[in-house]
Amino acid sequence: MMAARNRYGFVHAWALLRRAMIVSIVALLTTTPAAVAASEDDRTIVVASKTFTESRLLAEIMSQMLEDAGFTVERRFGLGGTLVCFEALKGAEIDVYPEYTGTLGQAILGFTEDVTNPRKLAAGAHANGLNLLPSFGFNNTYAMAIKESLAEERGLRTVTDLAAQSDLTLAFSHEFLNREDGWPGLSATYGLKGSPSGIEHGLAYLAIDQDRIDITDAYSTDGDLGRYQLTVLDDDKGYFPQYLAVPFVRQDLPYRAIVQLERLAARIDDGTMRRLNGEIVIDEKTFADVARNFLQSQSLLGGGLAPGSLREAAVRKVNWQAMGVNTLVHLKLTAFALALGCVVGLPLGVLVFRSQSASRVVVYLAGLLQTVPSLALLALMIPLSGLGERSAIIALFLYSLLPILRSTITALVTIDPLLKRVAEAIGLTRSQQLWRVLVPLAMPNVLAGVKTAAIISIGTATLAAFVGAGGLGEPIITGLNLNDISLILQGAIPAAGLAVTVELMFEGVERLVVKEHMLRGQMPA
């Protein structure tokens, strides 16, 4: 549901926000803008991207073009998927991001046929106050990727050739596997058999490289294709729709900016895009460098050093400091969300537990919130609270409500009825019953619920990177996209450490607040 085209959408991807912010700060300090023509040019243009390499690179290319024309650019790269980007664009949180025509037609505008008809697409964009600029020039469509050596050995050139092969191991990204225009349609069109399994796209190439799988879905401009000596099978029946990359912009973008972006039209063909992607993922160059070199080679820049490139190069090597900052941001998101969860969940639980029906309604509603996929919840937050920490904290808070509410209500409801009766019969008032008896007796289970909420929050907060809130999701997602294990670990290890630390911390709190024999659950005989 999230996104056509967004193969990385469900990866905990996204990262470059802080890097982008540093870059733009440096940009602010070092740029000597060309003469600023109109007053509308004074406003900052927010350029965004999805999580995967190509999207970021196109966004960086557009950013540098705009900066070269004297605009101040704010980079919000790595937003979590099509829906997030589209909502942000519609809500004027961002001004431009690269989108693909096929994605726009299917996932955003919901066309069922003729999905890449330019006139229909333009009309759909206009209806939302948006514009499509001319395509960059390449078609990044789905492709079946296979090892060159294997393809040669079996004489496979086209997808049609695949139908005769029954012993190949297929594994596709989850999105491709389930999208109507992915595997189900492809296998029907070509009469393909076999039962493919799902695999995270970032891992598929490693799997294919180690001969664990034979075929996976790829994108025709994927820089990794060259790295792993993979070839793509020709879509000889023309099944896959066109995915032309275009700048997707707000209609209120300054005219000069539109003109500047239109200069990128038809500058990048399939081969060029594959090469540029390869420079990032294989040669480990920075987005800023690759973008600047490309623009200079096309004589699109006025010349001079593109701002931020040196700094970005430094950032890609940094680990300890970045890890520290990410961990702190992560901790902050979790702590705020958890605090909110307690402030709302604990009193609410105490308020409703005496009424069975009210308890049921509240727990049911909180459970409903929890069933909303995290990424979807984050996307839904954008129209309400924009991109950034606030959205992430609200989403995490909503997620923490269920464990806190449920444990509070259950803990209070399941207290030995005899003790409840005694508390009332010996003459305690209602509030004395609550504070002197019920709450202390419920405390161990309530704390367990808060602890669960905390651990869940730490895990889920890696998704916060999708809406530009930073945290340990940043390196994980970037690492997955760049196949950079070290980057992934720079997020994963601190996250695990954080979870263990929080667990230990709560044990300490339990020991302080709850008597040991209560933790063992011993009750008087």
Binding site: I426, G427, Q432
Partner: protein, 243 residues
């Protein structure tokens, strides 16, 4: 104040179609122990909970300590009715003395007044001082029940309600606590309403009997009077099986 600690006039209570108490009239004497005896399902526990307002009857008037029960101000009335139950019902998160002193501290008693009363009560029920700081799980069943009685007596209430408080104890411990209870009542008799299914316990501890069957009083009167004239076959049988 009338001469009764508890009076029921036309009290009825039912749960759905099941009548638990049927048009009950009762008058229980002050400064004596009344045993409400009946089998399980006779309504005796409900009767006890009607007295302290945990259960509100559909019909009838309940008077306790000379005044109709005020359902808007139950905590205050309940503090004049000590309460002890089967299984002790001690709060596991509080030590023995904190269990005993809980309501007193809610009443705003001073620390020294609480301490004095604690020492007095623990001596009265022969609870060793080193048990004071223990949590309930570290006490024996008998010790827990003594602590529970102390809690019921803490505010020196004019009425005590005992809901089968001794029935979960082993025979030897039960006999010992029975003796202590008798001694307590001899030293300073107060009004006690005790629910039990055990007629021999009733005979041993009470001066007044209420025999309950299917939500109705089948016999009520002074112990001696009921024993010499059971009045009906059911009561006769109760005496017989308890021997």
């Amino acid at each position: 104040m009338s001469g009764f600690c508890v009076e029921f006039r036309g009290v009825s209570k039912s749960y759905g179609d099941t009548v638990v108490l049927r048009d009950l009239d009762l008058a229980l004497p002050v400064d004596a122990t009344t045993a409400v005896v009946g089998e399980s399902g006779s309504g005796k526990s409900t009767l006890m909970q009607v007295i302290n307002g945990l259960v509100r009857p559909e019909a009838g008037v309940v008077s306790v300590l000379g005044a109709a029960l005020d359902y808007d101000d139950l905590p205050r009335t309940r503090r004049r009715m000590g309460y002890a139950v089967q299984g002790a019902g001690l709060f596991p998160h509080l030590t023995a003395v904190d269990n005993i002193a809980l309501v007193a501290s809610m009443e705003g008693w001073s620390r020294s007044r609480i301490d004095d009363r604690l020492i007095e009560l623990m001596a009265l029920l022969e609870l060793p001082e080193d048990l004071a700081a223990r949590y309930p799980h570290a006490l024996s069943g008998g010790q827990q029940q003594r602590v529970s009685l102390c809690r019921a007596m803490m505010l020196d209430p004019p009425l005590m309600l005992l809901d089968e408080p001794f029935s979960a104890l082993d025979p030897i411990t039960r006999a010992a606590i029975h003796d202590e209870f008798i001694k307590l009542q001899q030293v300073a008799a107060r009004s006690v309403v005790m629910v039990t299914h055990d007629m021999s316990e009733a005979v041993k501890l009470a001066q007044h009997l209420v025999i309950l069957k299917d939500g109705e009083v089948v016999r009520e009167g002074a112990l001696d009077a009921v024993m010499s004239d059971p009045g009906n076959e059911y009561v006769t049988r109760l005496f017989e099986v308890s021997r």
